[in-house]
Structures are given as C-alpha cells and as structure tokens.
Amino acid sequence: MIAELGHAALWLATALAVLQMVGGALGLRNGNEAIVALTRPAAVVQAFLATLSFLLLLYAFAITDLSIKLVATNSHSMKPFIYKLTGTWGNHEGSMLLWVAVLALSGGLLAGLERRLPEKTMSATLSVQGFVALGFYSFLLLSSNPFERLPVPAGEGSGLNPLLQDIGLAIHPPTLYIGYVGLSVAFSLCMGALITRQVTPDFAKVMRPWVLAAWVFLTFGITAGSYWAYYELGWGGWWFWDPVENASLMPWLAATALLHSVSVLAARDALRTWTIMLGVLAFSMSMLGTFLVRSGVITSVHAFAVDPERGSFILALLGLYIGGALVIFAMRAGYIAEGKRFTATSREGALVFNNVMLSAILAIVLLGTLYPVFTEVFDVRVSVGPPYFNPASAIFAIPMFMVMAVGPLLRWKDDKPARIQFEVLLLASIAITVIALVAFFGSYDILPLLGLAFAAALGVASLLPLRGRKLSRVPTATWGMVMAHFGVAVALFGMASESAFTSERLAAVSSGGQEQVGEWTIELQSVDPIAGPNWTAIEARIIATRGDGDGVLLTPQARNFWAPTQATSESALLTTWDGQLYAVIGDQAGVDANGNPRWQLRVWWKPFVTFIWYGGLMIAFGGILSIIGRLQVDLKRRSVTKRGNQRREDAAALAGGTAPEPAE
C-alpha cells in the first residue's frame, strides 16, 4: 500500500507540474486568470506530494519492505537502522526521488514566500520551474521508478555497498543535491527575468539568497565528500580530480562566480547579462554533473549507478533546458538595458576579473573531465589525472588569489590603485617572507610553496576590510565575506601544508614492534578479530606517542562485510591541533624471525590537513552569515516601509476627514 501511495503521489505531483507550467505561461499572456491563480498553490501542493512520496520510500526502507525491488536490491534486514534510512538515497532511484523532492520543495517555497517580484516575472519563473520539475518527474517515473514491486517478495535484501555505510555518505549526497537543486531555482528566476526583460537590482536581491543557499550547500557537500573519501577509502588523499568529484566542483565554480556577480547586480546595478549567463551556466553544470555521475559515460572510481538509458534521458533533458535557455538568451540579451558603468580598477572590476578566472578554471576542469569521453569515440582510452589538473588550473588560480586579496579593499565604481599601495606592499612582503622561510628550511614543490605564501597573504588580506571600522557596526553580510575569504586562506594553507610536509611510514610490523613517523613513535600492541552487526574485522591496537607525551590508542580495522561480500579499511585518525595521524592496517605479511605474525601497517603524519575541511566549513559558514545579513536588511526595510505606508494612510485619512477603518 505504501509503495502505491508514494507512486500515486508522484503522478499527482507531475500533473501539478504541468498545471504550473501552463498556468505560469498563461500568466504572461493575460490568459485565463483562474488557471494563473492556481500556479502558486500548485507549486505548494506539489512540494507536499513529492516530499510525502520521499517520506514513504524512507518508511519502506525503515521497515525493510522486501516486496519493493529497490529495497530488496539495496538493503538488508541486518543492516544498522541508520543505514537503512540513509540507504534510501544510497542508490540511483532513491537519490533521484530525493532530488525531485528537494526541487519541488524549493519551488513550493519560492511560490509560497516570494512576493517582491513583478507578477509577470513570477509567472514566467514558476512556468520554467514547472517545466524543469516535469522533466525530472518523467525521468523518475519512466526510467527509474523507485516504487516498483517484485512479483514475489524477496527473502532477504542484497545489502548496501559497505563503503556507503558511513555517516559521511549519509550527509554528503543530500547536501550536494540541495545545492544542485537550489541552482535550478536561480535558473528559473533568471529565465523569468529574461523573458519579461526585468533584469533589475530588485530581481538580483530576490535571487541572491537562493544562490547563496545553493552555494552554501554545495560547499558543505564538497567538504564532507572530500573528508569522507579521505578517511573511508584509506588512501590518505583528499582530492583525486576524479570525474565524480569534478562533477560537484564545476557547479561550485560557476555558483561562486554567479554569487559574486549577483551581488554586483543587486548592489551596483551592473553586470546584468553576465549574471544571467552565469545563472544558465551554473544550472548547466549541475545538470551535467548529474549526467556524468548517473550515465556511466566516464570512468570513475566512484561512479555508482551506471545505465546508458538513463544517461541518454538526462542528456536529452540537459540539451532541452540549456538549449532552450540559450535560445531565449539570444533573443532577449539585446533588450536588457545597460547597467551602470565602472572602471577596471574598482571593486566591480576585480569581481569581473575573478569571475573570468573562475570561468577559465571551470573550462579547464570541464575539458579535462570530458576529454576521455571524446577520445573514446575514436576508440582511444585516456585517463586524465593530477599532472593535468594541478598545473592547468593553477595558471588561473594564481592571478585569481592575487586579485581576491585586494579586490575587497577597492572602492565601488572607480578607485585609484595608489590608494591601496600600502596594503599591496604589505601582502606582497608577507607572501615573499613565507616563500623565503619555507625555501630556507628545505626545498619544496612550486605549487605547495605558492599555496603557503598565498594562504598567509590571503589570510591577512581577508581581515583588512575590517581595519579601522567599529566591529560592532560591521554589517553581518560583510562578516560573511570576511569569514568566507578567510576560510579560503585556511583551506589553502591546509592543502599546501599537507602536500609539502606529510611524512609516511609503511612497514610490516609484529606485535611489540615500533616504527617512527614524523615526530611520532607508533607501537603495535596486538591485532585481534572482532565482529560488528553485519561484518567481521581484524582490529589493530596501536599506541602513538609524540616525544615524551602520553601514548594514545589507535584502532584501525580491516572489515569484511558479508552482505554484499566486500572488504573495507576503517582508518584510525588521531587529530591534534596541528595535524592528523592516519593509520591503516593491511593484510598479514608472513611471520618475523621469531615466528610471530607480521601485519602491514601504513601510517601518515599529515600536518594541518584538517585545515582543509575547517576552511571549507568556514567558507560555508561565511555564506550562512551573508544570508542572515541580507535577511536582516530586508526585514528592516520591510518594517520601515510598512510603518511609512501606515503613516501615509493615516495622514490621508485625516486630510480627507474620514477616520481610518478599524482593523479587523
């Protein structure tokens, strides 16, 4: 019954999406007002139905309803409860259902809450949003129905990939999806404004929180994903330039550019067409990301669901939406009135420069990710890795970081470079000092070296906008920018430090054996078999000691899951303020001279590696501060206008000699 209810709710939601699409379009043409009036409620009810459908699937997973095919193929009655729940989106169908539920929810929020847009622009926006939603509902219902029943209920489920049985993977996909889907709202808003030629600062103010929110979730999702790959895969790395990672990085790059350009449009009424273009680009990238992950066209160590038919469906949607958007853009771009002008040496100028650099990095990542797909057409197998991505993206990242440091110090519209001479000299000398210091203590690769220098300079630079201001008076949104930019410096420092200073020890050790890694001494005490709810494992007890300090116990495991049969490494991490000790246990490696078993042990000391993710969290938190700041300003403005209107009404009433109507 549950499955049928969920399925029916999806079909109803689809019908409402059609209504929303048609009603919104009619709103542009002064058509049937009754239908136009239904578009907002349609979006709200649709949000309710799609969410209901997702909750029903969640419930089916919670009770392990093995008569549903999806549950049978992706769950197991023995699985820990939390992973029964997260298993709901640990597969293709479930994650696509989550995707449409988030899409419908954000559409419902937009329709229910947004009152500032001109009525026609809102109609056009809702129509586009309905159109986008319709595409994804059809995708789900026609090619990936999550509620499909088995003719005969399965006796037992086949389990969830053990690598997904981790809290990191429980949080990571939903946050990324919310980010992707938030960009769809930005896309619909851009299309709406473009269709009605209302690309104004007011429109930008409506769009900004959506872009900010999507960007916050993307940032958080990428950070969480990176940390998950780092500790769960047992490779000790935090970024692999894997196509699936790139699929989330590309929309983030576009969203970062969009975020800055929409701020310029809202505050300074410039960059109108550019903002719309980025809005289209950002959504294209989130669609492309979905396509890359879901289609199996690319080689990836973490491509999960692989199905050519689904790939073609998403590719068709991608072509339809982006092609359509570009046609509308080409038809309307000429009508968008000119924005305000600015010089190259202004805050706008710096933002434009960084927008262009971000776009260039996006192009580098995009080409590197798609290149293997193209060569495959000619039957040439290629894989593109860090030797391409690192230097090619650094070429554009370096000038970007430089301008990022000074941009916020410049004035809007027009500024004299001479005015910030002192700051530029200060930052340059910090960077040079760091390079000199690091080079003095040992020679390192050029990229980590530059990374450390930029991190130091950027860290100071991001605080400079606060200089000479009364801190309690600084607007919350400015705190957001300071926090986010400082977060970039922190993350950069973590990345560079990890690349430059990591020390590693790999050895076969028997009980009682000691090894040295960095400043740490590690001693293997014992290796014992242990058992979990759906796995067995061997667990090593390792005592790590730093200098004369107390020993700390680390217990890395090598697990064997039995449904499905798979082995995973559970790394053990010891986090200190200045880095992380990372230990992995491998297989038994023969016996030592005394006949005792030896075990493969790999230990890394990674100085300041945690700063990578602290930085990511700070960037996301900066975005949240920014949203709060904007909302504060909006609320204040709204209450001021309300009071003003009230006063005007009262005055008019007095002047006209009639008493104001008593409030109901």
Partner: protein, 153 residues
Amino acid sequence: MKAKHQRMTLVVLALIAVVAAGLIAAWALRSQANYFYLPEQMAAEPPEVGQAVRLGGMVAADSIKTAEDGITVSFLVTGNTDDMIPVTYSGILPDLFVEGSGVVAEGSLQADGTFLATNLLAKHDENYVPKELEGLEGHKASEEYAETVAGMS
C-alpha cells in the same frame, strides 16, 4: 568609455580568458594522451623511464607475490594480448584487489622494465569495471554482481 564599449571589452576579455583556458587545456591534454597505457601499448611503445603514467589491465592469475619485507608486492598485468608487464608496489593493497580483477596502477616504468606503482586504483563499487579495460576478460566482477541480484527482478 561608452557603456556599449565597456560591455564589448568585458565580452572580449571573457572570451580571451576562456579561449586561453581551452588552448592550455588542449596543449596539456595532448601530453596526457599517452598517460594511460594498456600492457600491449606499454610493451610496444614504452613511455620514458620515470615519466608519470597509468597502466591499466587485469592482474594475471597466480602472479601476486609478496617480498620478504612483507609490504612489497609484485604481480603481472595483462591486457588483450600475451604481453605482461611486471609491476611492483609497496603498500597496503586496495580492498578489492585480487587476481583476475581489473586494476589501474599509477607510477612509472623503471630502467629494468618493471613498472613501479605508487598508487593502485581498484574499484570502489562491486559494479565498477574501469572503462579503459572494457573488452578485456575482466567483467567478472560485474557478472558476479549480476548473478547475485538475478532472480530478484
């Protein structure tokens, strides 16, 4: 500067940057084209000694040997032909690394003709077969998976 000119300047600037990015990418990708090798390619046209490349293939049956130190592993990688490339790797083997399965090794060719791997990429999902290895007899993993889920649909 007139407003229209400013817009043109912006567009031109953006175009230049993106085209530059494209050219840099194209140039860098050309040198990456010989980044991935199948065993037969490596046997026929070996990369330069020490150059960072990837070698992809199947781990030959009965070829995995562990050295005295307990952490250095050597094995043979085969492709579509009889060519075999000996690989040595020091480290903990990936969880899904077994004989007869696909593997992508990152590393470089040594002067003695062995491939020194610094990193082994094995799959991270039982459905996954490296795309580069399609056409090899290596679909065992996915076939096995298909068998375990058969009868459920």
